[in-house]
């Protein structure tokens, strides 16, 4: 009886105030789910708190598009097959809401600072910063890529981005020899993470792992920093970061 056609975004059957109308429509579907097959329009309107005339109009549209069906004596409604598409739509739309939500979730699982940087346009730019763990002198990170974990991650993964001609020494631990830097960049690619130990600032250590897009290209990095005594590349911490960056895949 009803057409199984894909949802056309160009069609706006509910008129101008979409979100409100969608809410009402979902409320009416919920009413049918709750009250069972055969629920009448009046019962649905009362349950969903929608004025009857509006409810009748929207019920007819929901039936026309297959989200509801009318029972054979036409006096009541049951859930239609296309309602199942709503679950799919919900699953598809959840992640795109929230790089920030995922980051907040991850920050709740660690006592170190967690930040996300983007490598878009071959520039290092922080797009989601930890409000509780500020990166002191954050601009140094993008200026001296060779001296920090996220910078080295970018040097290792983004083609066409190379270290400065002069590798500036920021602390006594800064790596200033090209050969050892090149070796470390190769290790970053093979181990899957980059590390930093007091190379930009004394007392600070950090780890960074790549964030990929849906085609597996590296588009940014997840950066964790803390005191040099506590942040070590131990397997648990690295796994936490790798799992976290996997959740961010495609969100950057």
């Amino acid at each position: 009886m009803t057409a199984h056609v894909p949802i056309r975004s160009a069609e706006t059957p509910f008129g101008g105030r979409q979100p409100h109308a969608v809410q009402k429509a979902l409320g009416m579907l919920e009413a049918v789910a709750q009250l069972g097959p055969g629920t009448t329009a009046k019962e649905i309107a009362a349950f969903a708190g929608v004025p009857p005339a509006t409810a009748y109009r929207m019920l007819n549209l929901l039936v026309a598009d297959g989200y509801l069906v009318r029972v054979p004596d036409l006096s009541g409604f049951a859930l239609g097959r296309r309602t199942a598409e709503l679950a799919q739509a919900a699953a598809e739309s959840t992640p795109s809401e929230s790089l920030h939500d995922v980051m907040e979730d991850l920050r709740g699982c660690t006592r170190f600072g967690l930040h996300v940087a983007s490598f878009a346009g071959s520039r290092l730019r922080f797009v989601d910063q930890d409000p509780d763990h500020e990166i002191v002198a954050i601009t140094t990170l993008s200026k001296s890529l060779h001296a920090n974990a996220i910078g080295k991650l970018m040097l290792a993964h983004v083609p066409g981005v190379g270290p400065d001609a002069e590798l500036r020494r920021l602390t006594e631990f800064t790596m200033c020899e090209r050969e050892s830097l090149a070796r470390e960049l190769r290790e970053i690619v093979s181990f899957g993470y980059a590390k930093e130990c007091q190379e930009t600032r004394l007392g600070r250590a950090a780890l960074a792992v790549p964030i990929r897009d849906s085609s597996s290209f590296v588009v940014g990095g997840l950066y964790l920093h803390g005191s040099a005594a506590k942040v070590q590349p131990d397997p648990d911490l690295v796994r936490f970061l790798v799992d976290g960056s996997a959740r961010l895949t495609g969100l950057l």
């Binding site: 009886m1 919920e30 009318r70 859930l79």
Partner: protein, 504 residues
């Protein structure tokens, strides 16, 4: 998304495939084929507004009712739109090949449905017969213009039969092909007629004569507008064959009378200023009216196309009604036969066209002198069907608990007006000693109870299947949200299946 809905969707993923597959009684027809445009084409062609415009121009020019005439036509359009609104109360909720016949059953039951069925058959056959006859005559006129002089009834009979055959072939060939063809044809004739009215010099006069009318002028003009608009609801016959039928059919039923009404008002206004006389002269009097040969040919061709389109529209609509009655076994079930690949009810189409051709022959041979009586019967049948559907919408919406103040007001208004018009026409007929129209009305009203009594005697099981419409199929339901089963009378029902425990 909230808990009960999510639970229902989750259940759907785990639900086992349904056992018995319950299908719509109308599943044999070609499904989801007609777009919005096709439906508008079907409606417009059945009405053939180009021909209606010419006749309105004729009456407006010759009888000169002035502004009153224009207002009458506009007001009648308003009433027809109200009728259309009553009909959309059904088309928004169900798709049925029987159109008004199936709708009236939902509100008023078997007897009233059978009265509506008779009225629709009489109405659509009547229109089909008169347009086919006029079409054949216009085709012969065109032949004569081209120098092909064919006097006598022989060529005329052949033309009628050929036109009928072409209509049947196109209608069987496929509903979509037919609707697109007629939309194109009808648009061309409309453009032609409108253009002729726009470029015609103002202040023309005509020598054409009018057939005698049994009614006074303005009521007659109102009835003629209704008759010219008859078929505005014919898209409703194609719900089972349309895409998103509950939306597209309803939209078509509402839009069509608005568009056609605007065209009629345009024709009436054009005639007020005398711009209608060129086209009237060209159509009714040919080159004798002083119109040039080319104009006469163009007007006649446009009108012939329009008559043809109208015959096709009637054949398509009428065949769906016969098909629906065949499915219900209210008429012989052979009418429900659907062509294997074309998915059209070919026997119903053939039957309808055959009766139309026979009727057109009789109409011209016997009743040609008195077409106003013939038109009167058709008008009464259509007005009765429209009135009954208004009453039915009142009862139907009340039954399913979806009536609002506006639907009640519209239904009561149309009912009173339609009922008044029927009584008025009958009384008018009696006072003019024209007993055919009142007798037709009485025959129509008793046809339902008689038909039902005959069915009860011959095919009692058909009384259980009457009112067939496109009911929900097993595949339309969300799996696990209910099970579609057939009760002991073979009627489908949705029952809760094995999920009661999960529901709060």
């Amino acid at each position: 998304m909230t808990s009960a809905l999510r639970a229902a969707i989750d259940r759907a993923q785990d639900a086992e495939p349904a056992g018995a597959h319950v299908r719509s009684p109308l599943h044999a027809l070609g499904r989801r084929q007609l777009s919005q445009l096709d439906l508008i084409g079907q409606s417009l062609s059945t009405i053939a507004p180009a021909t209606g415009m010419v006749f309105i121009a004729l009456w407006m020019t010759v009888s000169a009712p002035g502004l009153g005439g224009v207002l009458t036509i506009a007001a009648t359009t308003g009433v027809v739109v109200l009728v259309a609104w009553c009909i959309t109360q059904f088309t928004r909720r169900l798709a049925a090949a029987g159109s008004l016949y199936s709708f009236v059953f939902q509100g008023l039951g078997t007897r009233a449905a059978l009265v509506t069925g008779t009225a629709l058959i009489v109405g659509y056959l009547g229109i089909s017969i008169s347009v086919l006859a006029q079409g054949a005559r216009t085709v012969l006129d065109i032949g004569e213009l081209a120098g092909l002089h064919l006097p006598g009834t022989g060529p005329w009979l052949v033309t009628t039969a050929v036109l009928g055959g072409a209509v049947a072939l196109i209608a069987i060939r496929g509903v979509r092909f037919a609707t697109r063809a007629i939309l194109l044809v009808e648009t061309c004739s409309l453009v032609l007629i409108v253009a002729t009215m726009l470029v015609a010099p103002a202040g023309g006069t005509t020598t054409s004569e009018l057939p005698v009318s049994p009614l006074s002028l303005l009521p007659f003009l109102a009835l003629m507008t209704v008759l010219s608009m008859a078929g505005f609801e014919s898209a409703a016959f194609f719900g089972p064959e349309a895409r998103r039928p509950l939306v597209t059919v309803s939209r078509t039923v509402l839009i069509t009378p608005l568009v056609v009404g605007a065209l009629f008002v345009f024709a009436a206004v054009a005639s007020l200023t005398g711009r209608g006389s060129l086209i009237i002269g060209a159509y009714f009097d040919g080159v004798d009216s002083g119109a040039s040969w080319a104009v006469v040919l163009a007007v006649k061709t446009g009108m012939a196309c329009s008559w043809f389109a109208s015959t096709l529209g009637c054949a398509q609509a009428g065949s769906r009604l016969l098909y629906s009655m065949g499915v219900e076994r209210v008429l012989p079930s052979a009418l429900a036969r659907v062509h294997g690949t074309l998915r059209t009810p070919y026997l119903a189409v053939t039957a309808f066209v055959a009766v139309s051709v026979a009727g057109a022959v009789l109409y011209t041979l016997a009743a040609d002198a008195d077409s106003s009586v013939f038109d009167g019967v058709v008008e009464v049948a259509l007005v009765a069907a429209y009135t009954l559907v208004a009453v039915a919408s009142l009862r139907f919406l009340h039954r399913i608990g979806e009536d609002t103040a506006w639907t009640r007001v519209a239904a009561v208004f149309v009912t009173l007006l339609g009922g008044g018009l029927l009584v008025g026409t009958a009384v008018d007929g009696i006072t003019h000693s024209l007993l055919v129209v009142p007798s037709a009305l009485v025959a129509l009203l008793v046809s339902g109870p008689i038909w039902r009594a005959v069915l009860r005697l011959l095919r009692p099981q058909s009384l259980a299947t009457i009112g067939a419409f496109d009911t929900v199929e097993t595949t339309d339901l969300l799996p696990g949200a209910g099970t579609l089963v057939l009760d002991e009378h073979g009627r489908p029902q949705i029952v809760t299946g094995g999920t009661q425990g999960e529901r709060m």
